[in-house]
Each structure stands twice: as C-alpha cells, then as structure tokens.
C-alpha cells in the first residue's frame, strides 16, 4: 500500500508542479519580454510523455500565442532565417518578433504532429488549438498582403491541418467528427473543401491511383460531414470576418461552395474505391451529395461505373441513376435491359431489398412501357419468386399483381383463354438477357400457381389472387417493404387464437411419427 500512496503523492506533486511551472512561465512570458526564453520550456512540454501535460501545455501555448497575435508581437511578412537574426541590423523589438514567430512555427509543427498522437484528448486539444490559431491568423495576418487582391485567410495553415487530418495510416473518424463543428463555419468549410481537393489530388497521384482504404475512409468521413447550406442567405457564419467587400468573397457565395463541393467529390470518386466504400457512398449519394452539387449530372460516370459492377452495388447505384433520369433529364440507353439483367435470386437476400423494390416499383410504374418489357419483368420476378423467402414473397406477389393491373395487356400471363387446355412447355427463356427476346408474353405465371401451395398462409393467399380477375385497386406494397422474418413470425405469435389444434396421434418416441423423414435419414445413436 505504502509505495502506491507514495507514487500517488509523487504523481500529484508532479502534476501540481507541471501545472504551476507552465502557468508561471506563460505568465512571465506575457508579462515581460525578458522571460521570452521560457517559451522553449513550454513548447518542450508538447513533446512530453504524459497526455495531461501535453494537453495542458497545448492550452498554454494557445493562450500565449493568441495573446501575442493580439499584441502584434509576431513578425509579419517573409520570415528571415533564425541564423540571420543576429547578423541583420534589426531593432530589438523586431528581433523579438522574429524570434517569437519562429517559436510559433515550432509550436504549430508540434501540434500538427500531436494530431497523430494515440490519445484522443491530445488530438482534440491540438486540433482546437490549431483552429484557434487559424482564427487568430485570420484576424492578424502574418503575411503582407495586398488587401485588394486577396481576402485574408490562413490557407496554408488550414491546408497542412487537413493534410494531417486525412492521414494515410490512421483512422481519424473520431477527430473528423470533432472537426465537424468547425465545418459549420462557411469560410472554414470553403477552404477545407479546396484543400481537401488538393490533398486528394496529391495523395492519389503519389500512390498511382491504387486503393488506400484508410485514407479513403478518412476522406469519406470528412466529405460526408461537409454540408453545404441550402440557401445562400444563410452564409453568415464566418470564422474570419472580412473587412473589405465581404459580399464578393468566394467563401461567402453559395455557388462557389457548390462548385468546390462538387469538384471535391468528383475528384474523390474519380479514383478507384474499395467496394465497401462504393456501398457507403451510394447509400448517402442521393440524399446528401447530389442535392448539394451544382451539376449532379457529372456523377454519371461514377454511377454508370458502379451500375456495371453488379450485385448490391448496382442495386444501390440505381437510386442515383433514378434521380439523374428523373430530375436531370438524363438519357440512359438500355436502362431497362440492364435492370432486367440485375434481377437474380440474390436480390431477395441483400440488405437493400426494400430500397430496391421501392425503386423498381417506381421504374415500372409508367404505363407507357411496352407490354413485352413488363411481361418480361413479371415473368422473371415470378421465376425468381420460387427461390424467395416468405418476406420477399409478400412484397413480390402484390408487386406482380400491381404490374399486371397497370398493364392490362399483360393479363394474358394469368389469363389466356384462347389456348386453354393445351399443355405446352414454358416458352420463356430465362437465360436470355434481352427482355425483348425472352418470349415472356407467350408464357403463363405457373410459378405463382406453384406458390399457391406455399407453406406460409399469407403467401399462399397472396398467390391465390391470380385465380380471379384482379381488382382495380392497386395493392400498397410500401408497408411490407421493411418486413422482417421475425415480424412476420410475431404476427402469428401475437394473434389471438381460441383453440389450438393438436396432433391427435400421440408420439411415443422422438423419431417415431406417422410421417417420419428425419428418422429415415438420422438416428439417435
């Protein structure tokens, strides 16, 4: 016990000591220029082993340099080398400023390094301090600039910050989500977007367009956190206030924002992505990326590439394509043919089944589609339904019925009185890729007939509907889109039943019943 308490005491002592030390030193630096060498000790703490010390020192640095900015004690303009400091004939004041400016640069470097620290608190503190510096630099620029030509913003500092934020080795998603609060500010957002673009260009160019999952994940996290406001009038929230002609500042214009946003995304999407990233992007594409772009049609390359990949990615790409076709008047050749070829048994098992059916429902809602096409879709869906689980069937069967309702010419699929009583092979060719060639209109939906003997009562009931002429009213499928097997199970479990029928012949053994199958193939021993 004793040693531990000792160490505790020691810890506390050291804690107190470092706090006191830093506090006194910062106080002295700010009070008197004589003690400016103490800044070295404070900066030293930034490289400490202990997280708490680093954080404390970071805050101290933030305080000191902000104060210095405020006083104008940092050298403005091109910084001479430190070695030249003595040689040149400068006033002591100037020398002090140059010295402090060098310390500031050191501090910034260390803070940037600390953004790659293991401890999140350190990262967060460094990030906050740096953003504070960005703000201070914005107010008190360190460069002599022609005010008329340029608007003041510490682009360079922000660029290096973003570079460190988008690490190629480490997952920075936590820090990026912390960074989001700064992205609320319009000017920061604007300059971050442009620096991200540069960064992507540089990093991907360096890596020769190969996939870098960690980096791309970081970029994705950052990009998905960027939200361009919907209205230009809302752009009032700036980190750095511009004195001169604020209305012409690019960071204050929605159009510029949108353009920067668009360029950033397009550049990001231009490079090869891992498939999980494809899915992530496609999931958010239609609601958080496309509306914020100035010209969403530029996404067509990306979307058609994704659509051609196949599988779940294709299904997801449908959503973006749909918006392009629907809202931006995009002409996509062989869209339906491709959609047709997308239909395979896997569509019933993917996570995005509800979204897919929702979209397919929309795509096929037009009454101007040719009958052969609709018939091909219907027949294909029917064929696929033979492998579908009950939850999918509960979507599929009303959907097929709806399609036939919308296109009365497809009614021959369930009602062909002319050729009645004449048995024939199924003329439908499932291997055919082209819906025009698959002879779907000559076929009948025997599959649905088969499903009338499905084990689940609801499915069987839904399949029974094709026995009668369909009603005029379309069935709503939106409420069954998200139905899960367990929910379906609960329907039966929760239903109130008056009587529970029992098996009347009681069993005597586990594997002995009138209709034993398990016992034929397996035995207890």
């Amino acid at each position: 016990m004793a040693p531990s308490t000792d160490s505790n005491v020691k810890d506390e002592n050291s804690q107190v000591s470092y706090k006191k030390d830093i506090n006194t030193k910062t106080g002295r630096i700010l009070q008197n220029k004589k003690h400016s060498n103490d800044i070295f000790d404070v900066i030293e703490y930034l490289q400490s082993e202990k997280d708490k010390e680093i954080i404390f020192a970071t805050n101290a640095c933030k305080r000191v340099f902000c104060q210095l900015f405020y006083r104008g004690d940092l050298y403005v303009g091109d910084l001479p080398q430190e070695e030249e400091l003595m040689s040149g004939d400068r006033s002591a004041e100037e020398k002090y400023r140059i010295f402090m400016r060098h310390r500031y640069n050191n501090c910034v470097e260390l803070l940037l390094e600390n953004m790659g620290h293991e401890a999140f608190q350190v990262k967060e503190a460094s990030l906050c301090a740096l953003m504070k510096f960005v703000e201070a630099e914005g107010k008190h620029p360190l460069q002599n600039l022609d005010l008329i030509e340029h608007y003041i913003f510490p682009r360079e500092l922000l660029r290096t910050l973003v570079e460190h934020l988008l690490s190629t080795e480490e997952d920075m998603s936590l820090l990026i989500s912390r960074f989001q609060e700064f992205l609320e500010m319009d000017d920061v957002r604007y300059y971050v977007m442009s620096s991200v673009r540069d960064n992507i260009y540089r990093v991907m160019g360096r890596n020769k367009k190969a996939v870098i999952p960690v980096y791309q994940n970081n970029v994705y996290t950052l990009l998905s956190n960027i939200n361009v406001p919907s209205q230009g009038s809302k752009m009032k929230h700036f980190l750095v206030k511009q004195a001169y002609r604020p209305e012409e500042w690019k960071a204050g214009k929605l159009k510029e924002h949108k353009r920067a946003f668009e360029q950033m995304w397009l550049l990001f999407l231009k490079f090869k992505l891992p498939s999980s990233m494809y899915k992530k992007i496609l999931v958010i594409l239609h609601e958080s990326i496309m509306p914020q772009m100035s010209d969403p049609t530029l996404l067509i390359d990306f979307l058609s590439a994704a659509y051609d990949i196949g599988g779940a990615i294709s299904l997801l790409a449908l959503n973006g394509l749909f918006i392009l076709i629907h809202k931006h008047n995009l002409d996509y050749p062989d869209f339906y043919k491709k959609l047709y070829s997308l239909l395979d048994p896997s569509i019933f098992h993917v996570k995005y089944r509800a979204r897919f059916f929702h979209l397919v429902n929309i795509f096929l809602s037009s009454t101007h589609l040719p009958a052969y096409l609709v018939a091909a879709f219907v027949k294909r869906f029917a064929r696929l339904s033979l492998t579908a689980p009950p939850t999918a069937l509960l979507i599929l069967l009303p959907f097929i019925c709806n399609l036939i309702r919308r296109h009365p010419s497809c009614r021959v699929l369930i009602h062909r009185p002319s050729a009645a009583e004449e048995p024939c092979d199924d003329p439908y060719v499932i291997e055919e890729e082209d819906p025009a060639q698959c002879h779907a209109l000559e076929s009948s939906l025997w599959e649905i007939k088969t499903l009338q003997k499905h084990y689940h009562p609801d499915v069987a009931k839904a399949a029974m509907k094709i026995n009668e002429p369909l009603t005029e009213q379309e069935e709503e499928i939106s409420e069954v889109l998200e139905l899960s097997t367990f929910e379906l199970m609960e329907r039966d479990l929760k239903a109130e039943r008056k009587t529970i029928p029992l098996e009347f012949d009681t069993a005597t053994e586990l594997l002995k019943s009138p209709r034993e199958v398990l016992g034929v193939h397996f035995s207890l021993e």
Binding site: P345, H349, R383, S385, L386, T387, A388, P389, L413, I414, H415, R416, P417, E422, P423, C424, D425, D426, S444, T450, K453, H454, Y455, H456, P457, A460, I466, N467, E468, P469, S484, T485, F486, L488, M489, D492, L493, A495, R497, T499, I500, P501, L502, E503, F504, T506, A507, T508, L510, L511, S513, E516, V517, L518, V520, H521, F522, S523, L524, E525
Partner: protein
C-alpha cells in the same frame, strides 16, 4: 238538450251496470251504433262493427268520478300526520327513557286485558294464528296432530271447569281424589292446581317429543352405517350368512328391507377420472411408504418382497442403480451423428490453431472411407448415412476412449453393488429405487434436481408419477403447476440436447409425457413453444443485424422443432405454433452461414424437418431447395474431397424432396443435373438414380386461365313479380323500417288518444264545476227565498200586530 242526453245516458248506464244482461241493450236500436264498412272483405272479422257509445261513455264518466273527481275534490286539502306516540315531541326525555316509558305503557295496556286464563306468562306473538316462536324454530318437524294439540289449549276438563261452573269441578274432584276430600278448597286453589296440571302436561309432551327426535336421529345414524356396509360390496356368501342369523327384530327387519331396496342401485359405479387418479395416487403413496420403511432397513424379508413386487410394478430397469452405471449407459445412448461434430467443435474451440488441421484430417478420413465405400458397394441411402455416422463416431472415438477410461476408474472406486451383507444391500436398493410420489416442481431447477442423475427410463417414470400425483382433478393448484411443468420440461429437453454429449435417448423417452401434458393443456403448451420459438427467432434476427450472419441453430432448437412437429399438426394452413416454426426453419435455412461440416449436418436435419412438416400437406418450401442447391454448389466448387458423404446426403434429400414435393421445378432440376454431372465419376449410380427420379421430359402445363365464373345475367325489362305476403299500407322494406313505421303509427295513435282523454277530462271537470256552481246558486236562492219568506211573514205578523194594536 245536452243535459237531457246526459241524464238519459246516466240512467242507462246505471241500468247497464246493474243488469249484466247486456244483450238487451245491445239489441236496443237506440243504443247501438253500427260502424259502416267501406268494403266488405270476405272472411275478415272485425271487432268494431257495432259500438255502444252510451255504455262506454257512462263507463268513462263513472271512472272519472271515481278517480279524477275525487282528486279534484281533495285538491288543496292537505292532511297532516300527527305522531301520537308517547313523548314524541317531548324534548326533555332521552330516547332510553322514552322507550322505557312506552314499554311500560304497552305492558300496562296488555295487563289491562282480561286474559287471566292465558297460561303463558308472556304474551305470544302470532301470525295467522300460528305462534311466531314456533315458526322461528322451523327445524323440527312437528306432526300435524301434535300441532293441533298445541293449538287447542283448552282441554275438555278445562272447558268444563271454565264454563261448566265451579260446582261441576268440585264435584268431579271430590269424586276423583278421595284422599283429600276433607279440605274444601277455595276457587283460587282449584285454579292454581289446574294451572299446575296443565303445565305438567305440557312438560311431558315436550320430553316425549324430544325422545322421539332422539330416536329418529339414532335411526338415521344406524342407517348410515348400514348404508356404508352396503356400499362395500360384500361377498354374497357373507351376506347370506348375515341374513341367516336369526335376528327377528322388527327394526332390523325394516332396515334390511331398506338395504335390499338400495341394492337396486349400482354398488360399484364407473369410476371417474378423478377417482382413478386418486386411487392411483393412493397406490403410489402406499408404495412410497413401503419404500421409506425399507430405506430405514427394518426387515430383510421386506426387501426381498419388494424385489418381486417391484418387478411386478414395471420396474424392470435394474434394481441396483448407482450413478456410475447410469453414466456409461447415458453415454452410449446419447450418440447422434451430430454429437460427434459438436465434440469436434469444442475441440476447435479449445485450440483454434489446431482446429483447422484437424478438420482437414477429418475430411481426408472421410474421403478415404468414402472411397472404400463407393468401391465396395454402391448402396446409396442408408449406407451413406451410416457411413457418415461412423465417420463422426470415429472422430469422437478418442474422446470416447478417454472418457471410458475415467468411467472405469469410477467403477473401481464404487463399492460393488452385491455385497455380503444382505441388509445393507436392501438399504442401498431402497435408496436407489425411486420414490412413488413427487411434488410438482415449482421451478426449473427443481425439475432438474428431480430428474438429474437418473437413467432415461427412470426419468420417464419419475415424470409419469409426478403427473399422476399432481393430476389437475386432485387439487385446484395442480393445473397451474403442470402448466408450468411443461415449460420446464421443454427447457430441460433443450438442456439435454445442448449438454455434451447430448442425451437424446432420454429426450426420446420423455416424449410420451410431453405429449400427454400437451394434450392436457394445449394453451399452455402452445404458449411455451411459442415463446421458445420467438426467443430464438429474435436472437437470430439480432445476430443477423449485428454481425450480418448467424450460426446454425443448436441441437436444442432442432429437437424443439422436431417436438413441435410431434405435438402440433404441421399440415394446418395456419397454426399458432407451426406457422412460426415454418418461418424459423426458413430463416435458419436462408440466413445461417454454413461454415463447417457440422453446419452442413444441421442444415440437413433442418431440411428433413422441413420435409416432414410439409409431407402431409404437400406444400412447397423454396428455402429447402435453395439450401440444398447451395450445398451442392458448395461441394462441387470446393475441394472435391470435402464432402462426398455430405453430397450423398444431399442427393438423398434431393431425391426425397423431388419425389415428395410433387411440385415440379424446372430450374431445380437443371441445377441438380449440372452438379451431379460434375461428380459423376464418384456417384454414377446415384446419378442414375436421381435421373430416374426425375422425369425425362419437363412436364407440360396448360396456360393459366381464371377460374370460371358464373356469367352475370343481362338486365331484363320484364316486370318483376313479387309475392306480397302482407296487405295494407305497410311501408318500409326492411324489418327495421317496418318496425319504425309501426312504432310511429302507434305513437301517433296513442298521442291522439291521450289528447282526447285529456280533453274529456277537462270537459268533465268543467261540467262538475258548473254543476257545483249551479247547485250552490240554487241553494243560495233557496235560502234567500226562505229569508225573504220569513221576513215577509215577520213583516206580515208585525203589520197584523200593528193593525191589532191599532184596533
């Protein structure tokens, strides 16, 4: 005119009231009013063709006179209620005093009466002439004659004394009692004596009555005992003996006669389930007592006896049972083909690195064995299965060896069951033997304690006895207990299946009990199975959401699904249990990842279960086909050696599946053929078999047509002829409308009638008032006239006097 008529009618009405011979009036043409009919309808009788307005009017007037007029007369003449009881308005008296005073007054009032001959001190309250005190008793039935005696207080003697005068009595007394002749008694004395006598008489009567009652009770009791005897069916011989005994008591004779009469009833009626259960329990209780006695080690002979006895009692599963013996037994029992894999799985868990290698080794083994098998002979189904099983058991053989060794050690440690000391042996045996009664387990752990450490047969016996001891008809709480027991049992079965090695033999042994319980409480059973299904379904769904893939359900779920199939009909279109079970099967077959041979096996069990579920109802189960296809693809695409055995199983299942589910699927057929083609070198026979099973040509279908519907007939313009059942102006088509119309009509009529009545009432009142006024006026006129007359005479007299004076 009016008045005349009134008087006329009044007179007539009086006549009518007086003379009940109405026909005279009815015949009187001046009285009768004939209601003219518009149409003469044949066969219709109307009540109201003739009316007697005068009669009815007089009746109405009379009624008004009786009611309305009386009310009118009494109008504004209120009565006041005056309480004349003593001291009611005296505020000085307290309620107690008041009551006391009243009581004394009352007593005084009664005392005043001249009822000196009433012999009872207290006045008897009566109701309809019967004493209230007597009526209150009610319990003892009093004979009618005694009643009359009681009633007639005045005996002949008394009446004689009372009414015949004192002389008669004196005379009689002197004649009766010679001993006391000297004393001339006063009347007072005589009366006292009389009173005394009558009291004595009364007391005697009372005692007599009591005795009679006692006797009847005694008789009743005796009869009861005899009845008991009769209920027990005594052997006939004994009974005859009894009757032979010469007991010619009248009473006994009577009783026996009655007894013989009772024999007509069935002495041994059909026992109800309750009684049977009670008897069973009693039997078990006695056996339990016996067992306890033996456990105490009282007598060796008893032990021997019980030995035989027990064998008679279906306890042939070994008298000496020690835990060790059972263990080995259980181990040999619980050997399913999956179990081996579970062990394997555990091994894998133990050392994950080595697991893979082992797996591959196993697969190699499998290949080797299968090759031999295929070369040796090409028996497809059972051999393949057995082969598979063998395989598994081989895999688990190392474990078996190890365990076996341990058990041997245990065996050695245990003292031998057959010892020299007979007594000790008997004790042991008694301890090992099962008790005969069991309390119903209140919790799952109770049940576990109850059943654990027994062989499968014994467990079944224990359960059986528990059920018998706690039959719901035996006590009210048993039903709930047994309902809970079902849930515990299912849980226990699940435990048995998950333990290592799974004890499926026991599960199988417990099935009849589970079935029995289920038959007893279908609702509770349904609830229990439903909760288990929904729990596991929910957990699977959750793992799917979290991990994206779920493991195959464990053996306990498989067993539960199997039991579900045994308990509930899976062929129902919709069933609260089997439909969710179907969904669970579907979920397991579609969503669960197949990563090991064990999973494959579980999947195949699920397939078999699914097949079993739909075998009667011939339904389609797409997930089953999907799963089998997936397995086939897996076997083909993977290393060839991985699962020939599995493949065989699959093919078997496919065969069965194709043959059973007659629903034909093109796609399925093609895929199977493709796969089977690929492994043709190994399985050509099987291939042929499958080809045989599948028809060569795809079957042809007729194009779909809607169900033929009855054509809707054209609208025709011929008049619609409807039979009218009720004539008259009854509007409204539906029943409700008609009813509404009817009620409306009725209301209207009633309203009119009421209005008319009210008018008549007012008219009547007005008339009465008028007549009152008239009569008052007439009176006044008369009086005025009288006064005038008297005044005139006075004046005349005065004038006459004056004239006289003048003269």
């Amino acid at each position: 005119m009016m008045r005349k008529q009134q008087t006329f009618s009044r007179g007539l009405s009086d006549k009518v009231r007086k003379s009940k011979a109405a026909p005279e009036i009815q015949k009187n043409p001046f009285e009768v009013k004939i209601n003219r009919k518009k149409f003469d309808v044949l066969g219709r009788k109307s009540k109201h063709d003739v009316g007697l307005p005068g009669v009815s009017r007089s009746r109405a007037i009379q009624k008004r006179k009786d009611t309305l007029l009386k009310e009118f007369r009494l109008k504004d003449k209120n009565n006041t209620f005056i309480d004349r009881r003593f001291g009611e308005y005296d505020s000085k008296l307290t309620p107690e005093e008041k009551i006391l005073q009243r009581f004394t007054l009352e007593r005084q009032r009664t005392q005043d009466r001249k009822d000196m001959y009433n012999l009872n001190e207290e006045e008897e309250l009566t109701h309809y002439g019967q004493s209230l005190a007597e009526m209150e008793k009610m319990t003892d039935v009093i004979d009618s004659d005694s009643d009359s005696e009681e009633k007639g207080l005045l005996s002949a003697e008394l009446t004689a004394t009372h009414f015949g005068g004192g002389g008669g009595l004196l005379r009689k007394k002197s004649a009766g009692d010679e001993e006391e002749e000297h004393k001339p008694r006063s009347r007072q004395e005589l009366i006292e004596e009389l009173i005394f006598k009558s009291k004595q008489e009364k007391r005697e009567r009372q005692t007599q009555k009591e005795e009679a009652q006692e006797l009847t009770e005694k008789l009743d009791q005796e009869w009861k005992s005899i009845q008991n005897l009769l209920a027990h069916k005594t052997p006939k011989a004994e009974r005859t003996d009894e009757t032979d005994k010469p007991k010619l008591d009248q009473y006994d004779m009577m009783v026996r006669e009655l007894g013989f009469e009772m024999k007509a009833q069935p002495s041994e009626k059909l026992k109800s389930a309750e009684e049977l259960a009670r008897e069973e329990r009693q039997r078990l209780q006695t056996l339990e007592a016996d067992r306890l006695k033996r456990m105490m080690g009282d007598a060796e002979e008893d032990a021997v006896q019980t030995n035989t006895h027990v064998s008679a009692d279906d306890m042939n599963d070994g008298f000496i049972l020690d835990g060790d013996d059972r263990k080995t037994l259980a181990y040999k029992d619980g050997k399913w083909n999956i179990e081996g894999e579970e062990e394997e799985k555990e091994d894998e868990d133990g050392d994950e690195e080595g697991g893979e290698e082992e797996d591959e080794d196993d697969e190699d083994d499998a290949e080797g064995e299968d090759d031999e098998e295929e070369e040796g002979e090409d028996d497809e189904e059972d051999d393949a299965d057995e082969d598979h099983c063998d395989l598994q058991s081989d895999e688990g053989s190392e474990d078996e060896d190890g365990q076996g060794a341990e058990e041997e050690q245990l065996c050695a440690e245990e003292p031998p069951a057959v010892s020299e000391e007979q007594k000790k042996a008997a004790q042991e045996a008694a301890r090992a033997e099962l008790p005969y009664t069991f309390p119903a387990p209140e919790s799952y752990s109770d049940l576990k304690q109850l059943l654990q450490g027994h062989g499968s047969e014994q467990q079944r016996l224990i359960l059986d006895r528990t059920l018998k001891c706690n039959h719901p008809s035996l006590s009210a709480g048993n039903k709930a207990k047994l309902q809970k027991l079902f849930g515990f049992l299912l849980e226990y079965v699940g435990d048995l299946a998950t333990q290592n090695p799974p004890d499926l033999r026991t599960v199988s042994a417990l099935i009849p009990q589970i079935c029995g319980l289920c038959q007893m409480f279908p609702e509770a059973a349904c609830k229990a199975v439903q909760t288990l299904l929904s729990d596991s379904g929910h957990s699977m769904e959750e793992t799917l959401e979290v991990k994206g893939r779920a493991p195959m359900p464990d053996l306990d779920m498989l067993v539960l699904l199997k039991i579900t199939a045994l308990l509930f009909p899976s062929s129902d279109f919709r069933h609260p249990v089997t439909t969710p079970a179907f969904l669970f099967l579907s979920q397991a077959l579609t969503r669960c990842a197949v990563v090991s041979l064990e999973d494959v096996c579980k999947g195949l069990v699920l397939c078999c279960l699914a097949l079993e579920y739909v075998s009667l109802s011939q339904r389609i189960f797409p997930e089953l086909l999907n799963f089998l296809l997936g397995l086939l693809h897996l076997t083909v695409s993977d290393k060839h050696n991985m699962g020939t055995a599995v493949c065989v199983c699959v093919c078997v299942c496919v065969c069965v599946c194709v043959s059973v589910s007659q629903v034909f699927l093109n796609q399925c057929r093609i895929s199977i053929l493709l796969c089977v083609d690929l492994i043709i070198t190994l399985l050509c026979d099987l291939h042929r078999e499958i080809l045989d099973a599948i028809p060569e040509k795809p079957s042809q279908h007729a194009p779909l047509v809607f169900k033929k519907k009855k054509p809707i007939p054209l609208k025709l313009f011929t008049p619609k002829i409807v039979q009218i059942l009720d004539y008259g102006k009854k509007r409204g088509n539906t029943k409700e409308e008609k009813e509404r119309e009817r009620l409306k009509h009725k209301y209207k009529r009633e309203f009119k009638g009421a209005l008319r009545e009210i008018r008549k009432d007012t008219r009547f009142l007005a008339r009465e008032k008028l007549s009152d006024v008239m009569s008052r006026d007439a009176e006044r006129k008369r009086k005025v006239k009288e006064l005038y007359g008297s005044l005139a005479t006075q004046e005349g007299e005065w004038k006459a006097l004056k004239r006289k004076n003048r003269k």
